[in-house]
Symmetry: D3
């Protein structure tokens, strides 16, 4: 069984072949998923990339309740990749990330609990110099 | 190609069948991996569980340099699952976690960069009440 | 016009006469409110006091979505009284607090946005010694 | 009885009629108060608005002791509105705030304890989009 | 010229011979200094040790203004030794510290600025295992 | 006996005469040391100044392991001068700093533990106004 968070993590990690399988499985289970890419020393650009994708792809209705749930999921995923010291350019580091947005029940078929939204970020953070970076990962999720 | 961090994340997420495949692949690529389990409202118990496993399984030599690298990887993974508000019992929440320790080059065959150690934590955090919890995830890694 | 957050702040600050007027006004506007009291050096006791009151008084249904919204509102109010350095007894300080829980639309009659839950805390924080303390205040709110 | 912090909170919340009454009461009790307004995605502008008002209105003498007390009160109020995740534009959110500065004894007539300075901030924080925001509140106070 | 903070740092670092010279110099310049020792996994014990010494040695008058300045200086020094991740036993680490309290003008003979209080902590933090620890240092200071 | 951290702290504090003596002592004990200067409201400039000096002076080899150890030492020293509230210009404050980089064994002649790198920062932080500032200090160190 694949839960919402696990789905969003696997999706952000996998290459194209495995991704296609995950997409099929998601559809069957009633999950919506999106995978995108963003890199920056400016943390606001990471927030903007995920928010824009979520709106454009129709992951959230245009009301504040849903935008609030999305925002907090992004913020929590961002805290995960920062590991206790928030900030990118201001502490001279850069991030190159894949991100995933997933929406659906916390576990497949869980009807009592409504939809949740999960955001994952996976990639590299480090000095603004090629190869001087290591993997980072973050997951945030909230009821929507 | 599977990097050290990705390996540690996949291992912590997968069920037993996929885990066996990952273990084979790890051996071939020169990675050592371990998977364990811990649940508590007391954050020190989570640190202790990972440290004890790493020592017992011989992931670190008994010197402070390696212990220091392990400790900081645990701390960073812990920050990931906490998402900006460190603490468990003191803020009335509990964590039930699987964790993974992986040691080896950052990318397979990367000989110039020595060994790194990665710690991942995946599981559920929430109110100390069954089902009132959601998925959390953390990854920390350091040169060792 | 009185919004949900403002209502929760005024309620936690006011004495009994003004409180009665606020309660009348809340009823008319469709807000539910509760005011309680808790003091401790143990932050978990503050979380428990608000959670227990919210459940006992029926502010949240017994599902995780609502519990999650309540929990994050408590956590945010707690961050407000801590002002950047989370912790009470571990940094040798104590808090004596009144707290308020309010539930309803963000602004009276706002039908599009559903219910939100607000938690306020007001009181004194300081050395565990009479009079060696000053006022603190926190507000957290989330869609529920 | 109205204490310094409570006065600063009520002042920042109230509309003009109630504000006039609070001002009279403050004068009688020996408190100085000021109410201003600032909105920005740039947190430095919020600090600057409060500092400038405090100096222009003569709330602090031109020495570092008093400036230090004011600064830390602003910083604490700012932490209150941020609720654990410091930052505005860098995490893609904006704040529209009223702020209040109050100076006087911690409680009316308390002669032993000298003057304290309190800073409150109240308003809305959220996405840089009209209506996509909720109430926030912060209080900081220090001896001056 | 030796300023208040520098004095408190040098004092916490030096051995007994150099300490005696610093003490003489301090007396001449109108500074009061104290040096003590504390070790624990329980952060509250560190706060208590410094507070108790400051009171017993008469560094602060028994009023809240001075206690507040002392407390915040301890908190800031503690943040310095923790370097971004507050906590000791809860994150499985221990501290063995020398601490120093110094009171006087920010710079010798500076009459306009009144007294300040500085707290320094210097020692070792690490795993609760002999030798598995490294040096840490913190300085906090506030007007008193 | 002078350990690596203590050496880096004394070096950053001392004036030129004492510095010359420390340099001689360092050479004998097998330590490499560097002292530089940086002032800014932009925290990234502080990171850049220390990184650039460390590279130019050959404190680190051009590989990511060593760069990572240096970066985390800078980050920890920076957290020390910030004392719990990371940020400079964004919270309207400025820092004028001396910094020191030291590399060698944790204690002189300690052959089992390899090299460590220590970064210290000492100077003044405060309002961007002459004299409205006080002393700050930070130390970070990691195995390299």
């Amino acid at each position: 069984m694949i839960s919402l968070g696990k789905l969003a993590i696997l999706l952000v990690l996998q290459d194209e072949t495995e991704e296609a399988l995950l997409r099929q499985r998601s559809n069957v289970l009633g999950y919506r998923i999106y995978k995108g890419k963003v890199g920056s020393m400016d943390s606001a650009k990471i927030f903007a990339a995920v928010e824009t994708a979520a709106k454009r792809e129709g992951f959230i209705s245009s009301n504040y309740r849903e935008e609030h749930a999305l925002y907090h999921s992004i913020l929590e995923a961002y805290q995960g990749i920062c590991r206790g010291h928030s900030g990118l350019g201001n502490v001279m580091r850069s991030a190159g990330l894949l991100f995933c947005i997933a929406r659906g029940p916390r576990t497949p078929g869980n009807q009592d609990d409504g939809d949740w939204i999960a955001v994952t970020m996976y990639g590299y953070m480090g000095a603004p110099m090629k190869g001087f970076e290591h993997e980072v990962l973050g997951l945030g999720m909230n009821p929507i």
